[in-house]
């Protein structure tokens, strides 16, 4: 047992650090610093730079564009990105759909869709949840009926409503779970469809979240015509794909590197904010105790993640234990946001949006902290709520 980085690891860290420093778009960095909402092209710009370098999809199989990095290298990669405050590569195509495609898709589907995902050319969104189907996803009702068109080709005609579709307003394509057999058991009548978001009959409606932001959407499907060749895996066996998707890419879900960076920022902020006694807030007995406890919990999470990574590299694969990473990771992210808002004191209140950055109202570091806090409540709800994660551990690990 040791925590030593090999000379190769250290060289890798240097390479990564230099690459980020030399290639991260200045315009993007400035927009981030001004707190501007990032548009579609902003979001994709860093992805495309990484794609050129061959680093956009580290976890993919090497023959499809993966980097073949060791777990330690992946750990270094996430640390260096967090350290440089880069935006992440969006997960919908790269981490969610791609593994389904390369595990269950046809050769033709892989060739048609994977390069666009890898290179950041096609924006994907997820059509899973429905107004009546949240944690009980298998109860979904969006209906796909198979018909033969006038051209003699087979199609699905899709009708229904999807919701919580993150960044669907930018999406070129979406992957959808639809019901193809209404008479079968809930899990057995579902198929996995790839749908062009420009198809007639699709409409996307904004859902405004607590902090005023536009991340999630409703997606309405009204007689949308989808070619049968856009179905991944067998008809009525889409649940197999859905489950595989949920189990994939658990490492990184903990967000350890980003939280470590967040903690650094919190400590910085608390050393300039003042306590009631007039000293630095970080000197305040109650506040510093909370920071110390959070730091310790984050250390525990980091080592649990490292143990999981070590297990993966020894061929064990990410087990259902990785639900721990989701639960603890999101709890820590939320506590960080909570403490940052607390640290802001009075200046947590002004609701200024992007205008706040030039307003001179309150310290810069207080801007948007309430928004981050409100928005961050989503993390323990999405991706299988933390209660569902407990159900998974209970059933799969403890055998209850």
């Amino acid at each position: 047992m040791n925590l030593d980085f090999s000379p190769e690891d250290n060289a890798f860290r240097q390479e990564v650090r230099t690459f980020i420093a030399e290639n991260y778009p200045q315009a993007l960095r400035e927009k981030q610093e001004r707190g501007e909402t990032l548009g579609k092209e902003d979001q994709l710009s860093w992805h495309r730079i990484l794609a050129k370098k061959g680093w956009a999809v580290p976890s993919w199989p090497v023959e499809l564009g993966g980097t073949g990095w060791t777990p330690t290298q992946k750990y270094i990669w996430s640390e260096e990105q967090a350290r440089a405050d880069t935006i992440g590569v969006l997960p919908f195509g790269v981490s969610m759909l791609a593994p389904v495609l390369y595990n269950f898709g046809t050769e033709e589907q892989k060739q048609r869709f994977l390069p666009g995902i890898r290179d950041g050319l096609v924006w994907w969104c997820q059509g899973y949840s429905e107004p009546g189907s949240g944690s009980d996803l298998a109860s979904l009702k969006t209906r796909a009926e198979r018909v033969t068109g006038d051209d003699g080709e087979e199609y699905y005609i899709v009708n229904g409503q999807k919701t919580w579709t993150t960044l669907g307003q930018h999406a070129d394509w979406g992957f959808f779970l639809v019901r193809t057999d209404p008479d079968a058991k809930p899990q057995s009548g579902i198929s996995f469809l790839l749908i062009d978001m420009k198809s007639p009959g699709i409409s996307v409606r904004r859902i405004t979240t607590l902090e005023g932001g536009h991340e999630v959407n409703d997606v309405f499907l009204d007689n949308v015509k989808v070619p049968v060749e856009n179905r991944v895996f067998h008809e009525n066996q889409g649940w197999t794909c859905a489950k595989a998707l949920l189990a994939h890419e658990r490492s990184g879900i903990a967000g350890v590197a980003r939280s470590k960076r967040g903690l650094e920022r919190l400590r910085q902020m608390a050393s300039t904010e003042l306590s009631d006694a007039g000293g630095a807030l970080i000197q305040d007995a109650f506040f510093r105790r909370k920071v110390a406890e959070l730091e310790i919990d984050l250390t525990a999470l980091e080592f649990t993640e490292l143990r999981t990574l070590a297990g993966e590299s020894s061929g064990k694969g990410p087990g259902p234990e990785s639900s721990i990473l989701k639960i603890k990771g999101t709890e820590i992210q939320q506590r960080l946001q909570e403490l940052a808002l607390e640290a802001a004191g009075h200046y947590g209140a002004p609701f200024l949006g992007e205008a706040g950055h030039n307003s001179g109202i309150g310290p810069q570091h207080s801007l948007d902290l309430a928004g981050d806090y409100f928005n961050g409540r989503k993390t323990s709800i999405y991706g299988g709520s933390n209660e569902i994660q407990r159900n998974i551990i209970s059933k799969m690990v403890l055998g209850l």
Partner: protein, 381 residues
Amino acid sequence: MDFSFTEEQSMLRDTVASYLADNYGFDQRRAALGREPFWRPDVWSAFADELGILGAAFPEALGGLGGGYTENMVVMEELGKALVVEPYLGTVVIGGGFLKHGAPAGAEEMIGQIIAGKAIFAFAYAEPQGRYNIRDLKTTARKDGAGYVLNGHKAVVVGAPYATHLVVTARTGGGQRDAGGISVFIVPKSAKGVSTRDYPTVDGFRASEVYFENVVLGAEARIGGEGEALPLVEKVMDEAIAATCAEACGVLRRLQEGTVEYTKQRKQFGVPISSFQVLQHRMVDMFIQLEQSISMTYMATIRLSDSDAERAKAASAAKVQIGKACKFVGQNAVQLHGGMGVTDEMAIGHYFKRATMIEGLFGSTDHHLARYETLSLGAAA
């Protein structure tokens, strides 16, 4: 980075586990703790001779098998699973730690005695007034010619009733709570002027109040520099904390697994109570606490080799996690066992008692949170 165990380390684990499975069942343990001599010298002899594990964590140059911190971790976790009271912690981890790092004259011979199962150590550091502050010492070692004269009262010295030797912290100078002026001595328990009042502890161990009355010590009894031993004490104490965390992982695992098993058997309302979601989620939270404790134990064990500041931070962070886990997992294990959880006849309550004592061992959760806080964020205003 590497979190794997060597083949030797895995064998060590198997050796200890299978011996304890055969020889240290719950009933055997309870019977032995209820009668003289209140521990199992036969088990200790087996550790030394049959299993040969007492040398696992000592360097080969000192007659050991060449292991170190990881070996202590492996052994302690298995001892925790069986609630072993025999003094591996006091003897190998603490006594051995002082001998390795302090390297007094005769250390090699003494380590040989430890490995052979002949020398048994207990750590006499706490005092009635000092709570968890290891600097708060009224015990004095007054210079007398080339040697010292020891006077004082040490509190709740765990394992002292079975010990042949005591490691004693005492003031050779400075004020009662000063960092300077602290020295460490190895005192044979048979030395003239050493007296003890022995008693059982609530978790089945034995401890003593130890009194020193004009105990005459030679200069060779001192380990480390005169008046400069605090860093040495802190180092060995952090090693003891990491080992205790490992023991706790064994205790917590039994609490968690025992609870899962019990709820699968126990039926109410016509179904196993494990089918109730409120209990399932509780057990998941217990499991998470266990996993986080294992992670922190690895972390603290690995960081024992780091700088003093990093080592201390790591040990305190781990002790905070373990302290919280001992409380949460212990209390909920009892809760989920219902009335059976508060009876003396089920093992679960005995694991709970050990877990509860580990919470306070070498400093409570609050003590270590405060220590971590100072090391990480600087002294409070």
